[in-house]
Structure formats: C-alpha cells, structure tokens
C-alpha cells in the first residue's frame, strides 16, 4: 500500500517535472495568484505537499481546478519552481485515474451502434488508460 502511494507520488513528481526541493517557501506564488482567494490549497502548499509526498491532501484538493494556468506563480518564483506544473500534473493524474478501466471492450455492445466511430475512439482514449 505504502509503495503504491510512493509510486503515485513519484509519478506525480515526474509529471510535474519541476525542482520541488528548490522551493524556499517564500509564498510569492500564492501572493501573486489571481485565483488564490478561491483555492483550498494555495500554490505554495501544493508544492510543499508534493515535496512531502502527502498524496491524499493533494488528490482531495480542488485548487488544481481553480488554477487558470496563467503561470504568474512560475514567473514570480525566485527559485525557478513551477507550481503551475504541479497543478497540471494533478489535473492530468485526476483525469487519468477517474475513469480507470471504467469501460472495457466487453461493454461495447451496450453502446448505441449509431455512435460515430470517432467518439468511440475518443472514449477509449480518455477512459481506458
């Protein structure tokens, strides 16, 4: 179980690809974030929690969905860290996990045969990772 969490944390870090350990927790990202007032987990915390490996806190957070990817945090960061990249990593992870194996090929018969083939491919692409 622990390994599984660790694995997911590592996957997140790989996705984010930003030097988390360089963060000095100055808070400039959160201070300059135009949507910080809406966030449950401020950008500096998002970076901190990922550095600490607190997966649960991160996955529960709605902040990634408030983030507008304006990259102000990344621009202002004095250490070259990108909280925006962490936000994006969290979004990607959520998208990839949400429908994990939700549809498999065996369920295909329940689909409307009239459904365009392109839509089918898109559904598999999105939900069959």
């Amino acid at each position: 179980m622990v390994d599984k969490v660790q694995e997911q944390v590592e996957a997140l870090r790989r996705l984010a690809h930003t030097p988390l350990q360089d963060c000095i927790q100055c808070g400039r990202c959160s201070a300059g974030c135009p949507v910080a007032f809406k966030m449950d987990l401020l950008p500096h915390r998002v970076v901190w929690e990922l550095a600490q490996g607190n997966l649960e806190t991160l996955l529960k957070a709605t902040a990634p969905w408030q983030c507008v990817s304006c990259f102000a945090c990344q621009n202002r960061c004095p250490r070259g860290v990108s909280p925006a990249a962490v936000m994006e990593a969290l979004r990607l992870t959520a998208i990839r996990q949400q429908g994990a194996n939700k549809y498999d090929a065996a369920q295909l018969e329940h689909f409307d045969p009239e459904l365009p083939q392109q839509a089918l491919v898109a559904v598999f692409r999105k939900f069959n990772k």
Partner: protein, 662 residues
C-alpha cells in the same frame, strides 16, 4: 646523480581514507632517482617537516616531491622547509593528491592509481627543476584606497594612523558613501551621520591622507610594492583651494531640474551643487551636462556671486600618476535595478520605494526634512508594508542568488523608527525567513515585534497595484495561516538586493583581481585570507567583497589596513623568480614576445651574441627585465623558436609532466 625524496601525506584521514598511501610510496620507490620515499600523517606539521629534514640529511636528497594538498595551500611551507636544510626552495614540487584526488574520487583503487600518476608527474617535473633565487623589489610606502565610503575611510584612517601615506580616490564629489545616506544604524538606532561625520572629518584633516574626490582610477600597472596608478581627477569647475564652501553659488544657480544623486532622485538640485550638507570636501561641483553656461554659453551666475572668485569654467580633467605599494578596493554597493520586478509596481507608483530611498525620506537632512510622507500625496501614510528579499535569494535569473544579509536587520530598524515616531502608522513586514545572527541582532528584531508591535507575516507580496483611492492594493500570502491576503497600504518599501557598485568589474580588470560571477571581488582564501585578493598587494574592504553590514565593514577595513601596513612596513619584497628569460643565441629578435608582454618587461637590445655557429655577432635580441616580469608565459608561446622560456614552468618541465601523464 639526482636524489629525489618523495613524501606522501595522509592529511589525517583526508587523503589516507581514499588513497592507499603505502601503495603510493611503494610505487614511487621503483622510479629511478627516487632515493627515499615515506608517508606521514601530516606532512605540514612539525613532525612532517622534521621527517623531510632528516631524510635529506640521511639520504643526501637534492630534490623533494611532496604528495599532499594543493600547492596553493602548502607550497610555501615545503619550500621553506627545504630551504632550512639547504635545498633550493624551487627544487620542491607538490603533487596535489587531496583537492584533485582523494576529495574528488570515492573509489580507493582509482584514487590510489591517480595519486601515483600525479606523483610520477611531479617527480618527472622536479628532475628538470633548476635552483632559482628570488630577486628583490622596493616597496613604495604609500597606499591607495579606492572608494571613500565607510570601508575606505576606515581603512585609510587605520593606515594613516600607522604612519603611512594613503590616498583615497572617490568618484563622487564627496566622501561618505552609502553610510552618509542612511538615517539610523542598527542595532543601536544611533544616527548614521553622527557617527560617520567625525570619521569623514578625521580622514579629510589627517596629515597622512590625501583625498581625490570626483576622481576615478583610470589605469593600474605595476605589481605589489610598486603599482603605478593613473587617477583622473574630473574637472569640478571650482577651484577647491580657494572655495570656502559658503554655498551661495548652489543657492543662486537658476538650473534646478536635475535630480539629486545623493537624494536618489527624491529631490532636485542645481547644476552647481554640494551633494549633501555635511559633504567633505565642502566644495561644489558643476554638473556640466545640466549647466546653462556650459550648454548655452549664457548664464555664469555662479561665477558672479562667488565671493571667493573660484568658479573656473575652463578647468580640465587632470590625470595624476602616483605610485603605491598596496591598494585597498572598497568600492561598495548599489541596489539591484527593479526593472525585472514589475509586479511590485516600483515603476508605476512613487509610493513604492526602495529601503535606501526610505532612509532619505526619514532623514532630517533629506528631501522631506525627516517627515515621513507619501511621495505621491505629501501626506503621512496610515499603513506601510515592507517586503523582504526583493531580488535576493533568486535563482531564476531575475535577481541575485545570494542573501543580501543586511535587509532583515534594516527592515526591523525601519519598521521600528516608523512605529517610534508615528505610532499611529501600521507597519507590516513580509518575510521568507528572518535572518538576524549577530550580537544583539535577534533581540533587536524581537523588539520590533514585541515592543513596537510591527506585524511580521511569513509570506510574500505577489502584486502591488495602485488603487482608486490613490493608495496601494497589496496581494500577499500568509503562509502560517495559509491565507491569501489583499491588503491596503499607503507605502510599500522594497528591501532590494544589493550588488557590487557599477564599475567594480572594470576596476577588477585593471587590478587583475579576480571576481565571482556576481562581480564581488574574490578573497585569497574564504576563511584564512578573507581581506586579501589573490592578486598580491590588493586588499578588500566592505561590500565589494560580499554583502555585509557596517560593523563587519569596519572590521574588514581595519583588517585590510593591517595587511597593508604589514606590507608597507617592509623595505623590500622578494620577487617571484619564476620569470621569463631569453636564450639569446637562438633569439631572432622578431619581438613577438615584446608585443604580448602585459608588463613591458621585454625590450629589444642590440647585443653581441655568440651565434649557433660559434661566431660573435651583433644583433637585436629580446631582453627580459626580471623585476617587471610577472611570469605569465605569454612570450614563451609567442616565440616560434622557443628561445623564450619560463623559469619554474619551462618547456622541459611542463613536457616532462605531459609525458608522465600520457
């Protein structure tokens, strides 16, 4: 036959842990001419040196190789050691098996193999070493201090007090530097001018000190003990000898639009001006760019009103050439320009100011006579926000990677004097960390919080905007309560990163002193020689070497002064005998060497030489002045015939190393 002694140092565990010293000893013992080899725990210790002495006597050694730390560390030690037993110090070679071997390699077998090879290279070189004798050069008993801030003033005073002549070159019209701009100083909150002015007076009046203000160093040549420096004394357009400093000219000058450098643009000044009221020398200077007389030919009011008739529009820059035994660089600092930090609104709002500008705003001699008002409205602010680390600790490329060191303390200081004088003003400091190590420093910061109710918030400011009411909206974060803040402020003070003064790099190049990537002068050793530049005869004081506060600057200036005095106390210096020399019978006299010599040490002489055929002939050959030559070796490569060689680093010596390593 040569008898070489090889001594392998353990350096405690520093070398011995990764290098098998016994194996090194065994390996070098098999090399021809190695008459003795041994290892020892600390070669640099008394015991180690005794071992060398004893081995030299027992085995009649005539050359020594020490496998130890960097020659930059202990070459001198072992050379002295050799000299004591009658071996010429230049018959000693060091194999650097610590910094370049045991410390960079973890694998013991690899490190041992490399150590053996380095030892072999040193042995190969030492075979070709020749005894060298240092020459002597005289010491000019006069020092130069570049920069007339507190660092330069203190260094000059200490040197002068020790009885040596010292000149201060200051590019501004008056000495005083940054400290003269400050209102109060931490951690005692005493008035900066009150403690600086007496020192300025002392420097200006000291019989051993000569001030060159409004002057810049133009060129430096020579070397330790005898630098030749060209100083450009810019035309003041005022006869300093006759001027009484009455200041009538500055009052009557009709041009009033130039922003005052000393007041950091918060005030204007005339074209003829004295930078500040306590300026020394109290002699005005005409800023020719803004003077009507110089620009249009019409005006000349200052000349008419001057009771001492000392205005001289025809004055020219003067180049003064002077010789010095030692030079102190004390060029101080500037603030980082904030053009890359648009989010703080420094360019947009006059109420966003730097900490240095704030010092002027609260200074009784400043533009507001010490009343703290917002520059935009002239009204007293209700709330002030101080932002720390603006441009410091920044690895993103926008700012400086280092901590500017003084900001945390002056933030507390400034917050305190706002709260002390104006208890109704709310002061908030945003910080990443509060770094206050130092005597009575942390207590000082805590007083700001505990006694003066300054709000300290761990977090940073992300954006400063002008708001509709004419104030400032500040977006910030509070990391401890995990909140995003939107605050109102009337004034924002930016604790801006410090950087070495403009022109420091140019000066370093003239002095051939090295600098780090941030343009701070590097010290000869970060711990053991912190006030000396690696270039002999150049010493460092104050901010030009790294961020530091006033007490540290003063201590460093004192330390640099002692080093200068120690140098000037000598009548002669031993010169480096590793200099170029010309084999005259091969020299064709093409003088390519002369053209690349940076010291003018090579001259053409028509001489009678015995040519290769054994016949006497008269011809032009290159001759090296052994005192002027500093031993760079540029000439040796310029010479196509290899007639020019460098003692101590001869072609044969270097090639012996190449051959031993390949």
């Amino acid at each position: 036959m040569q008898k070489i002694g090889v001594f392998v140092c353990w350096c405690g565990s520093n070398i011995a842990t990764t290098v098998d010293v016994a194996q090194v000893v065994a390996a070098v013992k098999t090399i021809p001419n190695v008459a003795f080899a041994a290892d020892y725990k600390y070669m640099c210790s008394e015991g180690g040196q005794e071992l060398i002495h004893k081995a030299v006597q027992d085995y009649q050694l005539d050359r020594i190789v020490v496998c130890s730390c960097s020659p930059r560390m202990h070459e001198a030690t072992f050379r002295n050691c050799a000299e004591q037993v009658g071996i010429n110090p230049y018959l000693v070679e060091i194999a650097n098996i610590r910094e370049q071997c045991s410390w960079i390699i973890k694998d013991r077998a690899q490190a041992t193999a490399k150590a053996i090879q380095l030892a072999k290279a040193a042995i190969a070189k030492v075979r070709f070493n020749t005894p060298l004798t240092p020459g002597e050069s005289k010491v000019v008993k006069r020092a130069l201090v570049i920069g007339g801030g507190i660092a330069g003033i203190q260094a000059a005073l200490d040197i002068a007090e020790a009885g040596y002549k010292v000149d201060i070159v200051e590019r501004q019209p008056a000495i005083g530097g940054r400290m003269a701009q400050l209102d109060k100083t931490f951690p005692t909150l005493d008035c900066s001018a009150c403690i600086l002015t007496p020192k300025m007076m002392d420097a200006a009046n000291h019989p051993n000190i000569k001030l060159y203000t409004y002057s810049e160093v133009e060129a430096v040549s020579g070397f330790v003990g005898n630098f030749e420096v060209k100083i450009r004394q810019k035309a003041r357009s005022v006869d300093a000898k006759r001027c009484t400093g009455c200041g009538i000219c500055t009052e009557k000058c009709p041009s009033r639009k130039t922003s005052s450098e000393f007041e950091l643009g918060l005030k204007t000044r005339g074209a003829i001006y004295i930078p500040f009221s306590q300026a020394l020398p109290k002699v005005p200077v005409i800023d020719r760019e803004h003077c009507l007389k110089f620009q249009t030919g019409k005006c000349g009011i200052c000349s008419k009103v001057c009771p001492a008739e000392c205005i001289d529009y025809t004055q020219q820059d003067e180049i003064i050439t002077e010789h010095y035994g030692a030079i102190v660089a004390a060029t101080g600092f500037d603030l980082l320009p904030l053009d890359k930090f648009g989010e703080y609104g420094y360019q947009d709002s006059p109420d966003v100011i730097t900490s240095l500008e704030f010092e002027r705003l609260t200074n009784a001699t400043g533009p507001t006579e010490g009343h703290l008002v917002c520059p935009s409205t002239g009204k007293e602010p209700k709330s002030v926000i101080i932002v720390s680390c603006v441009g410091s600790r920044d690895t993103s490329g926008r700012g400086k990677t280092y901590c500017s060191k003084i900001c945390c303390m002056y933030n507390a200081k400034q917050a305190m004097y706002i709260r002390e004088k104006y208890p109704q003003i709310d002061v908030t400091v945003f910080y990443i960390d509060v770094r206050t190590p130092g005597k009575a420093f942390d207590e000082f910061y805590r007083r700001a919080v505990e006694e003066f109710n300054v709000h300290y918030i761990k977090g940073q400011v992300g954006k400063v905007l002008k708001d509709a009411r004419g104030g400032l909206t500040v977006f910030a974060s509070d990391l401890l309560s995990d909140k995003h803040l939107m605050l109102h402020a009337d004034m924002v003070i930016l604790a801006t990163a410090v950087k070495p003064a403009a022109g420091a790099r140019k000066l370093a190049t003239m002095l051939t002193a090295s600098m780090d990537n941030d343009d701070f002068f590097t010290e000869a050793h970060p711990k053991l020689r912190p006030v000396e530049s690696p270039t002999a005869g150049i010493f460092l004081a104050g901010m030009c070497q790294g961020p530091k506060d006033i007490p540290e600057t003063v201590s460093q200036a004192g330390a640099a002064a002692v080093k200068v005095v120690g140098l000037l106390a000598k009548d002669k210096l031993r010169t480096n005998p590793c200099v170029a020399h010309c084999q005259e019978n091969i020299c064709s006299g093409c003088l390519a060497c002369e053209k690349v010599c940076p010291y003018g040490a090579i001259t053409a002489e028509t001489k009678t030489v015995i040519n290769l055929a054994g016949v006497k002939e008269q011809r032009t050959v290159a001759v090296v002045n052994q005192t002027l030559c500093q031993g760079c070796g540029a000439c040796t490569v310029a010479c196509p015939a290899a007639a020019m060689d460098l003692k101590g680093f001869s072609n044969q010596e270097i090639l012996a190393e190449v051959d031993a390593l390949c």
